[in-house]
């Protein structure tokens, strides 16, 4: 039996309804995917080798880009903050200003964005190619849960590597600020580091830590989900990779704002 055609005046409502259902449906699938991944994270058997491989894939291989971007971010911060502080005669606060900016805000956000660009996109492409070449189906028909082999190790590795990458980013960033502030602009070493110890406390470090943990979960969740639900062929993988990077980057900034509002 064929459906009766809709009156032209009602078609916009049909379109809005269709979009709403599609959005709710994809949010539901996104959430269900995470719940399944969490189930695979907390229940045995644990895939230790896959977890170590993922730490290498997401963390170790991102080290160079983290070192480079961290150093130059610290140098830029050192220069710009110095030029501002010097107007008020407060250049002694350069060290804490650089450290607080990095530890609370820029370290977690920029490290997460860098790791997303390097490892997140590769994660989506790798899982996407496994999907279109039926490798994920092969796991499924072997009665092996692909979430346990591909997604759970990635999310766990994200939990471990993002805080580590952030810590490295913070340290080299502070060193970059030191190079500019102390070695280039002539601030004393004692002032740069001494004031830092006065102003930076554990709350600031924990704020950055919790942010990096949440970014680690968000990025690996989004990137594995997009890889798992890739479209057809090379174009589908390319589109999924782009979507994964864009969505991860947007969510990093959204999460950063809300966590910055909630955390002390």
């Amino acid at each position: 039996m064929s459906e009766r055609p809709l009156a032209p005046a009602l078609r916009p409502f049909e379109a809005v309804g269709g979009w709403t259902i599609a959005i709710v449906d994809s949010l539901g699938r996104f959430g269900t995917f995470f719940a399944e991944a969490l189930g695979a994270v907390v229940t045995p058997p644990f895939k230790v080798r896959a977890f170590v491989d993922r730490i290498d894939y997401i963390g170790y291989r991102s080290l160079l880009i983290i070192l480079l971007t961290g150093t130059f971010t610290g140098m830029v911060l050192g220069l710009q903050i110095y030029l501002t502080l010097v107007r008020f005669g407060s250049e002694a606060f350069l060290g804490p200003a650089v450290a607080l900016s990095l530890i609370r805000e820029l370290g977690p956000v920029l490290a997460a964005l860098m790791v997303t660009g390097r490892a997140g996109s590769a994660l989506t492409a790798e899982i996407g190619i496994m999907r279109i070449t039926e490798q994920i189906d092969a796991l499924t028909v072997m009665a092996l849960n692909p979430m346990r082999y591909l997604v759970a190790p990635s999310i766990l590795a994200g939990l471990v590597t993002f805080p580590l990458m952030t810590a490295i980013f913070d340290v080299v960033g502070i060193f970059g600020g030191y190079l500019v502030g102390v070695k280039l602009l002539g601030l004393s070493e004692g002032t740069y580091f001494g004031e830092m110890q006065t102003f930076v406390d554990l709350h600031d470090i924990m704020t950055g830590f919790w942010k990096s943990v949440s970014f680690g979960i968000v990025v690996t969740w989004v990137c594995t989900y997009k890889g798992f639900n890739v479209g057809h062929g090379a174009e589908g993988v390319a589109r999924a990779t782009t979507q994964a990077v864009v969505l991860s980057s947007v969510l990093i900034l959204v999460c950063d704002y809300f966590m910055g509002s909630v955390l002390p």
Binding site: I129, M130, T133, E134, Q135, D137, A138, V141, A143
Partner: protein, 236 residues
Amino acid sequence: MIKVEALTKSFGRQPVLRALSLEVPTGSITVIIGRSGGGKSVLLKHLIGLLRPDAGQVLVDGVEITSLRGRALDEIRRRYGVVFQGGALFDSMSCHDNVAFPLREKLRLPTAEIAKRVEAALAQVGLEGMGAKFPAEISGGMRKRVAIARALVTEPEIVFFDEPTTGLDPVLVRRFRFTAVVVSHEIPEIFEIADTVAMLHEGRIAEVGPPAAIQASPNRVVRQFIRGEPDNSEER
């Protein structure tokens, strides 16, 4: 026995399977033939539980599998071996590790036993000594044979072959006593291995029977397909 009853599946408004029914007797080799894009792979994906039908049933030894999920479905799948159209080998692993993978993960055998079985499985498909190669380093036909070795190494009860093209040696197939469902459009190679041939056309089984009966079939669709004549049904 695998029994398919009135299986129906559409993608959007495109019907692919239309109340398809088929029986695959235990221990037999049933080959499903039909034109490319005719729904053979879709039917196979229903048999292995990767797709759920809009209507109809798939019974494996009396167990209805289309409503099964999770561990219950995995119990059925443990009896399966599947050779995918492109091989579906894991690119990050060598051929040896690909074949060893189900033995390690499903059967959890000792390392020495796994190595022995893998070498034997690779030798059976004519790839002895090739275990160290990665899938990207070998030809498409060799990849398919590694996939066959991986599917057979666990000695499954039921094996599904999606367009095996090369590597499906009749002698090899007869050596194992499994129930096999082979999806193929390769004529006449499949007649050498089949006990039963089923012709899939427009979402239904157009004809089913022994290879000789199919080859002598008066059915126009079957004759056209076997002789490689163009399908004019769309022009009508």
